[in-house]
């Protein structure tokens, strides 16, 4: 059986991990390479690096980070944030990332998903979807630019569209739940997971280990991503995984 994956997410700005990561035992908590190794040792199944650099220079630095991380990490990792072109994808993948994640750029120009999939294979292309419940749609609406701009897309339609273009995986973030620590949006995750035949990574809202169980079972997620609960050591990847194993899920 394929196991359910647990994926810590690291925000990287100008080459450093930000967002108040609290690791007392690490020499330098802002070093992406050290944090990556830490999560690898904790049995994280995969990592996501989100480049939130404001400047062009910062994005160039990200390529060096990717190269260095690839040199130490023996688990797959995805890089997202600011990837706007096939050239951006090439740079990141050639530096050693296993997958790239597209978000706003895919909404602006969906063909970019196809171009990436044709060039690198569908397994390299993740589409990140930020979704928020919309009463007028009676469904969730897709947002871009870090959740600032509403798009015209309903989430199921958008998910199916990007999969038809070659997205190999979806990283689905609930804007309603993000940062609330009240659990993942199980309905949103299940709705999308049942609608497409590629893996869905649930994101947004993880607050405790029980939340992971819920999104893997009721939510039908293939993987679950979290940032702050791992960074702040509210729980650890290892603790979540041993809990899920006890509950009978297939976990590495």
């Amino acid at each position: 059986m394929l196991t359910k994956r647990i994926i810590p997410c690291l925000d990287v700005k100008e080459g450093r991990v930000v967002k108040g990561v609290q690791f007392v035992n690490l020499r330098d908590a802002g070093d992406p390479v050290e944090l990556a190794s830490f999560y690898d040792r904790e049995w994280a199944d995969e990592l996501v690096f989100l480049d939130i650099s404001a400047s062009h220079e910062g994005r160039e630095t990200m390529v060096d980070v990717v190269e260095e991380v690839a040199g130490t990490l023996a688990i797959p990792f995805t890089v997202g944030g600011g990837i706007n072109s096939l050239d951006d994808m090439k740079r990141i993948l050639r530096a050693g990332a296993d997958k790239v994640s597209l978000n706003t750029a895919a909404v602006n120009r969906p063909e970019l998903v196809r171009e990436g999939a044709d060039f690198f294979g569908t397994q390299c292309i993740v589409v990140a979807i930020d979704a928020k419940w919309d009463e007028s749609l009676r469904s969730w609406r897709v947002y871009t630019h870090g959740g600032r701009n509403a798009s015209a897309w309903e989430v199921k339609d958008w998910a199916a569209h990007v999969v038809s273009l070659g997205a190999g995986e979806l990283l689905l973030t609930s804007m309603d739940q993000d940062g609330e620590k009240n659990g993942f949006d199980v309905n949103l995750t299940r709705t999308v997971s049942q609608h497409v035949d590629v893996p869905v990574i649930a994101s947004g809202g993880a607050g405790k280990k029980e939340d992971f169980y819920e999104v893997f079972t009721d939510g039908e997620a293939d993987a679950a991503l979290a940032a702050s609960i791992f960074h702040y050591k509210e729980t650890s990847v290892a603790q979540v995984k041993s809990y899920l194993k006890e509950k009978g899920l297939d976990i590495r």
Binding site: A74, P76, R94, G96, D250
Partner: protein, 208 residues
């Protein structure tokens, strides 16, 4: 010295880095004359079978690899590199492979599962005494593939996993030709152990 075969099919960086981490001297080349100097070869690869074979032929690496194999020298295929070791694939039309191992590559059947087979799956070891399996008694490894090998000879099965209602060959071997369907370089401790086993394997022309 490990030669990593560069035939334009991507993802070589992570294999090189993994070898470096294991303290192995390795070089990357697509030139048969250069690769000839290696003690062992690794054939990695991501992409389609058809493109992979085409790229090997363009560089005359198909004939080089065949004579390498006939000399009984150690070769490890990874992911697409493993599939290329078999006789043929149906990916993007019927394509002949290197035919070092008996079997064919076919698309996963459609059903109530997702394709590609992507993520961590558990190894079931059929040959615990095989040198590839030293220190490995199962555990999980990282797969990403849409096509699966149907072995022509069950004896080549060293370890397998289960997916899509099928037995999926995960580690295959015949003599000093080994293959892994998963990515050992992305499979944490278990994957690194298998890579290390290949590096330490005393293969070569004198064997068999």
């Amino acid at each position: 010295m490990i030669g990593v075969v560069d035939y334009g099919m991507g993802n070589l960086h992570s294999v090189m880095k993994a070898l470096e981490r294991l303290g192995s001297e390795a070089f990357l080349s697509g030139d048969p004359a250069e690769l000839q100097k290696a003690d062992k070869l690794i054939l990695p690869g991501v992409g389609s079978f058809r493109d992979g074979m085409q790229e090997l032929k363009t560089r005359k690496l198909d004939t080089f690899l065949t004579s390498w194999k006939n000399d009984g020298r150690p070769l490890l295929g990874i992911c697409l590199g493993m599939q290329l070791l078999f006789e043929a694939s149906e990916e993007r039309g019927e394509t002949a492979g290197l035919a070092f191992l008996p079997g064919r590559v076919r698309l996963f059947p459609a059903g109530n599962w997702k394709v590609p087979h992507m993520g961590w799956n558990q190894l079931t070891v059929s040959k615990p005494d095989h040198p590839a399996m030293f220190g490995v008694d199962g555990g999980h490894v990282y797969f990403v593939h849409s096509y699966v090998v149907e072995l022509g000879d069950a004896a080549a099965d060293v370890a397998h996993t289960y997916y899509a209602g099928m037995t999926v060959p995960a580690v295959v071997a015949q003599g000093d030709v080994w293959g892994t369907q998963f990515h050992p370089e992305k499979s944490s401790v278990v994957g690194m152990a298998i890579l290390k086993n290949f590096l330490h394997h005393k293969g070569g022309p004198s064997r068999d």
